[in-house]
């Protein structure tokens, strides 16, 4: 059975202007240890879908199963990495990573060997993200890239069933982003995590994903799904190969087609249209 099953999921926002369908008839299955990326223009509902998986938002129809369990609220089995500002600035790097250890959900039926294992795990994660040297530093002494490394380690601490990532590298500069890409691929291999990753960057979606799910707006729904024709072990050079470039061109073309936007002037037209219709 699939790790995650999303069945006919819909979401309607109640706004002042009336009911706005944010998601409609979304169906998607994610296998164990798969790395799936969700990509699409803004307003396509990719973040909303991820937040429904996390239990941070309610669906208005359909069903979401994780490990066969219906999802209705947030839970430690589905960890999430946010774009920024999610670390606890009053805690050191290592205490941020260990944060979930003090929660009741992780303290029930705990043996002393569990506690030892947890402490070892925190150290192992610190090594995995390469931040052993700054284990006692506070988050605001770290660069944006380092902060995101800590956020990833903290999310992995409780061995979640799936790791949800909401544009985690969106605020980083291009060089840092490339380093983070290779880091998260490495983590995916070592930790054997199932990852669902939301991004608006098509290149990022292809480089990271084994499967790229393209979503389209108004209402948010899945447009198409692409299996990425690249070897499991990715290298930066692959970004210049023909299969990569072709897939990138195709996805970009479909985004343009699905939104009707090819130039920034079209974008302006659409915005005008929206404001007059409201």
């Amino acid at each position: 059975m699939s790790k995650v099953i999303i069945k006919n999921v819909g979401k309607i926002f109640n706004a002042a202007a009336g009911q706005i369908p944010a998601l409609q008839d979304v169906n998607l299955s994610v296998e164990d240890n798969e790395f799936v990326t969700l990509v699409g223009a803004s307003g396509c509902g990719k973040s909303t879908l991820l937040r429904i998986l996390a239990g941070l938002e309610y669906r208005t129809s359909g069903e979401v199963l994780c490990d066969g369990q219906s999802i209705n609220s947030p839970g430690a089995d589905r960890a999430m990495v946010f774009q920024h500002y999610s670390l606890y600035p009053w805690l050191s790097v290592i205490d941020n990573i260990k944060f979930s250890r003090q929660l009741k959900v992780n303290r029930e039926n705990l043996t002393s060997s569990d506690v030892e294992a947890a402490s070892g795990r925190a150290d192992a994660l610190l090594n995995l993200i390469g931040l052993n040297k700054v284990r006692s530093a506070y988050p605001n002494q770290l660069s944006g890239g380092m902060q995101q490394r800590v956020a990833i380690a903290r999310a992995l601490m409780g061995r979640p069933s799936i790791l949800l990532m909401d544009e985690p590298f969106g605020a980083l500069d291009a060089q840092t982003r490339e380093v983070m890409h290779d880091l998260i691929l490495h983590i995916h291999r070592v930790e054997k995590t199932t990852i669902i990753f939301v991004t608006h960057d098509v290149e990022e979606a292809i480089y990271l994903g084994q499967r790229v799910v393209l979503m389209q707006p108004r209402p948010g729904r899945i447009h198409s799904t692409f299996a990425v024709p690249l070897p499991a072990q990715r290298t930066q050079e692959m970004k210049h190969t023909v299969p990569f470039r072709e897939l990138r061109a195709e996805i970009l073309a479909r985004i343009r087609q699905s939104t009707g936007i090819t130039t920034d002037l079209d974008m302006l037209d659409q915005l005008n249209l929206q404001s007059t219709s409201v």
Partner: protein, 246 residues
């Protein structure tokens, strides 16, 4: 450097104006007169006693206010229903001038210590509740949602995230409301007291002792400045992480 200059300049201007003789020294005593008066006040009259009773009143009113406002503000900031229940009322009372309660408080409590402490409490509590609630609401959503996705319960959220995250801002709120507490102290002592710095100022007015009035005002300013610096020191001491920069 500039801080010292900013304090010294008005002081120098004051000395110059009073030395020039433009203003009658009965209305504007020179710095030296005020200083001598403060020395005699200290040694011959009971300056320390006046200051001590005033500090006691401020401390009692302020601590009572903080002890109730911090948990209540935390609850208002954390829970929507509590917010809906209490915030409109708090907002309403906040706009009533605390000074207007003085006659009522005197009727109810007389002019004992509890009356002055009550005035300070009324003057600071309602502001403090709303400011603390706002401090809690300012906690970044991502910090809250991250804890939710790690499986935190509601109680854990308040204890481990909201209160921790809002602590530095709450201490700033206390620092600011402490200033108001001093204002209400003086008001209370001007109206209903027979001791304290505010009362000394009022008494000095009756006998046209402007040097004492100046001395009292300066003393309140100095005590306020010291307390403010104390709060800032505490802030750096308790929350080094909010001052650290990479």
């Amino acid at each position: 450097m500039f801080a010292a200059l900013g304090l010294l300049l008005p002081f120098a201007a004051w000395a110059a104006i009073s030395a020039s003789g433009w203003v009658d020294s009965m209305f504007l005593p020179g710095p030296l007169n005020v200083f001598t008066r403060m020395v005699t006040w200290l040694f011959e009259d009971d300056l320390l006693g006046d200051a001590a009773i005033s500090i006691y009143r401020v401390a009692a009113g302020f601590l009572l206010s903080a002890a109730l406002a911090l948990p209540l503000g935390l609850l208002i900031g954390a829970f929507r229903p509590v917010e809906a229940l209490l915030e409109p009322l708090t907002d309403f009372i906040r706009y009533m001038p605390a000074v207007a309660f003085i006659p009522l408080v005197m009727l109810w409590l007389g002019i004992g210590e509890s009356a002055k402490i009550s005035i300070i409490f009324i003057g600071t509590f309602f502001q403090m509740v709303l400011m603390v609630a706002e401090n809690v609401r300012q906690v970044p959503m991502a910090q809250i949602e991250a804890a939710l996705t790690m499986g935190a319960t509601r109680y854990e959220m308040i204890r481990l995230v909201l209160s921790q995250s809002a602590k530095p801002a709450m201490l700033d709120t206390l620092r600011i409301t402490m200033g108001w507490a001093w204002t209400y102290l003086v008001v209370a002592e001007l109206v209903a007291a027979n001791s304290g710095l505010g009362y000394a100022i009022l008494k000095a007015q009756r006998y046209l002792k402007t040097d004492t009035i100046f001395g009292g005002i300066i003393l309140i300013g100095v005590i306020g400045l010291l307390i403010d610096q104390g709060f800032r020191w505490l802030h750096r001491r308790l929350f080094p992480w909010s001052h650290a920069r990479g």
